[in-house]
């Protein structure tokens, strides 16, 4: 007789997620509907003030900024990651390249951000090279603006785009590309209509893995950003500490979570229907072929 061990297998992860995901999120949702304590904390009295406070041009503007940074960074990351992972997967030294992608994780995230300051700072390596070679005669302000935030975001999360794409592309049957070429497709046509649809799952994962952390970014805009690169994460931190408005911090967190979840759901839905329609197309073609 075969016993069903399923519940046992999922018990640890269920407990973990309940403790460290469901409960904290529930607290955030709960707090967002409470009244703020004058010195921080919350008063247990229902109120929609925190949501009313969201109707505010500042928060709207910062939400737009956050979307811009996250979307732009994600698009660039994924479009860099696809060719990179393709190259890695086809290379003889794939394990070596994989190691290279992973090596940055051996150093703490914050230290890597500070390293960018040493590279791009006014007195940084890059400015010094440009100055000493006479290409420029005054420093260029690379850091402390939104572009710098996007650059460092891309640097930080690029591995999260490469790794899932690599593992998908590695399983791809490359002879399909040869077949496409044999049948007269150009190199690009073969990539676009054979490779890309087949690695759709990897692309989805890569987009999610990069967009979500980029959207919730806090440390990068805090350290690398300038006077106009605040993101939602920074506003949440401020409301929680400096202004002691915990319900507002919670309601902004909820907005962040809702936007992220909606984005993910829409993206996955769009993706699935695209895959299904592609599959449907193929089946139709096969059926038509069989009839003929």
């Amino acid at each position: 007789m075969k016993k069903n061990y399923g519940p046992f297998y999922v018990a640890p992860v269920t407990v973990w997620l309940a403790c460290f995901f469901v409960i904290p999120i529930s607290i955030i949702v709960y707090y967002s509907f409470l009244t703020k304590g004058i010195n921080g904390g919350v008063i247990h009295k229902l109120s929609l003030d925190a949501f009313r406070a969201l109707y505010n041009p500042t928060i709207f503007q910062i939400t737009i900024n956050t979307f811009q940074v996250a979307i732009l960074a994600t698009v660039i990351m994924v479009s860099f990651a696809i060719p990179a992972s393709y190259f890695m997967a086809r290379s003889r030294f794939k394990n070596f390249f994989l190691l290279l992608v992973i090596i940055p994780f051996w150093t703490n995230f914050l230290i890597r951000i500070y390293a960018w300051m040493a590279i791009l700072g006014n007195n940084g390596i890059f400015n010094n090279i440009l100055l000493s070679t006479g290409i420029i005669n005054n420093h260029i302000q690379f850091l402390y603006n939104t572009n710098a935030v996007i650059l460092v975001t891309i640097y930080t999360y690029l591995p999260f785009a490469i790794l899932p794409l690599y593992s998908t592309i590695e399983k791809f049957d490359f002879s399909l590309l040869e077949a496409a070429r044999d049948l007269g497709a150009t190199k690009w046509k073969a990539m676009a209509s054979i490779l890309l649809p087949n690695i759709r799952g990897g692309i989805t994962t890569a987009v999610l893995f990069t967009f979500i952390p980029a959207f919730g970014s806090y440390a990068i805009p805090q350290i690398i950003g300038g006077t106009n690169s605040y993101m939602l994460g920074n506003v949440i931190a401020r409301e929680l500490t400096v202004t002691r408005n915990w319900p507002l911090a919670s309601s902004i967190s909820m907005v962040l979570t809702v936007f992220t979840t909606l984005g993910v759901l829409l993206f996955m839905r769009f993706n699935r229907s695209a895959t299904e329609s592609a599959r449907g197309q193929k089946q139709k073609t096969v059926a038509a072929g069989a009839k003929a």
């Binding site: 004058i38 010195n39 921080g40 904390g41 505010n56 041009p57 500042t58 928060i59 503007q61 910062i62 300051m117 700072g121 006014n122 007195n123 302000q141 850091l143 402390y144 350290i223 950003g225 300038g226 006077t227 106009n228 605040y230 500490t241 400096v242 202004t243 002691r244 408005n245």
Partner: protein, 341 residues
């Protein structure tokens, strides 16, 4: 399984029951990061046979949140003035019995009379005071303005930082316009906002964490902030090129204070520690280390290092007070500054 648990319990009992010899009394201190030189704390422990547990926080808000959320059994805490008044209102503080702090008499009475967050120091004993000013790299900055208006000079655009702190920055702007740093007047704050928006065009960022390092690295030439954050990053030779000044109009002053929590378990030791800190020799050593002005009158004679500024330099400045409900007004203005172009 049961046997294993019993064994574990027995082991635990052995370790905790017999692990340590005669117990030293313990004092639990919760203070700002690097705010007392280590050896001063060690010496207290040695002199009175006390084991001192020393935890650190980096902002009043962090400290307050931890204590409020049920935290941690501390005896002695070092909140700033505005948080002293909050903690008094919340009934978190033990009233200070001055007869147990004989060295309280060493404190500067002019300073004490200005402490409106706890009039008469009923719940708090001042520890250290200071103010944010402007540090400039003398090799790079030619402007001789010694007012907040130096921040309007666009020649140094991209080399200037302001604190990421609405009280400090709006306080400076309010002072520039001749208003109080504790102003609760919407029209005054609105004008202060315009001043800050002008400064914002010249600065690279609002920063309270890394400006000292950036200044030391030559990245920034003019930074708004606490002198010790800048000077502790520089060696003696590099310090010669730096001038720290408090702008003529004055600005917000902070006072950090020692308070005993109502639920403290070691109140006697806490009193002992407060009194120890205000021994002139001990206090002089602390202020020498941070180069801050001494609020302890006899300690001034024992100081061997010139502080970055004297109490007299703070004549035009004002102590920060808790804004209560009006913090929302500051917050709104600050948010508008954050996204304003």
């Amino acid at each position: 399984m049961k046997r294993l648990l019993c064994a574990a319990a027995a082991a635990l009992f052995l370790v905790t029951g017999f692990g340590c010899g005669p117990q030293k009394p313990k004092l639990y201190i919760y203070n700002w990061t690097y705010y007392i030189p280590d050896e001063v704390v060690k010496e207290f422990g040695k002199r009175y046979g006390v084991k001192v547990y020393y935890d650190m926080y980096s902002s009043n808000e962090e400290m307050y949140a931890k204590l409020k959320s049920g935290g941690a059994g501390y005896d002695l805490v070092f909140p700033s003035g505005d948080f002293v008044s909050i903690m008094i209102k919340e009934g978190m503080l033990e009233e200070i019995d001055k007869s147990r702090v004989p060295n309280y008499g060493n404190l500067d009475t002019t300073v004490l009379s200005k402490l409106l967050f706890d009039p008469g120091s009923r719940y708090s004993v001042p520890y250290a005071m200071g103010t944010a000013g402007i540090s400039i790299d003398k090799r790079k900055i030619a402007d001789t303005t010694r007012s907040w208006r130096i921040l309007d000079n666009s020649d140094y655009k991209g080399r200037v930082t302001l604190l990421d702190d609405m009280r400090e920055v709006l306080g400076a702007a309010l002072k520039t316009l001749g208003y109080s740093v504790n102003s609760k007047d919407t029209a005054q704050l609105e004008k202060a906002k315009q001043v800050v928006m002008g400064w914002k065009k010249n600065i690279v960022k609002f920063d309270s964490e890394a400006f000292g390092k950036g200044f030391a690295a030559g990245e920034f030439w003019m930074v708004h902030g606490y002198a010790e954050n800048v000077f502790l990053e520089l060696d003696e030779k590099a310090q010669e090129n730096v001038e720290f000044f408090i702008p003529d109009e004055g600005g917000p002053i902070y006072m950090d204070n020692m308070v005993i929590l109502k639920n403290a378990r070691n109140k006697d030791l806490a009193y002992q520690f407060i009194n120890y800190i205000h021994e002139p020799e001990v206090y002089a050593r602390i202020m020498d280390f941070f180069q801050l002005p001494s609020v302890n009158v006899p300690a001034r004679k024992h100081m061997t290092v010139e502080p970055h500024y004297q109490i007299e330099d703070l004549a035009t400045s004002e102590f920060k007070e808790d804004l209560g409900e009006h913090i929302e007004l500051y917050n709104k203005i600050w948010q508008e500054i954050m996204v304003g172009k």
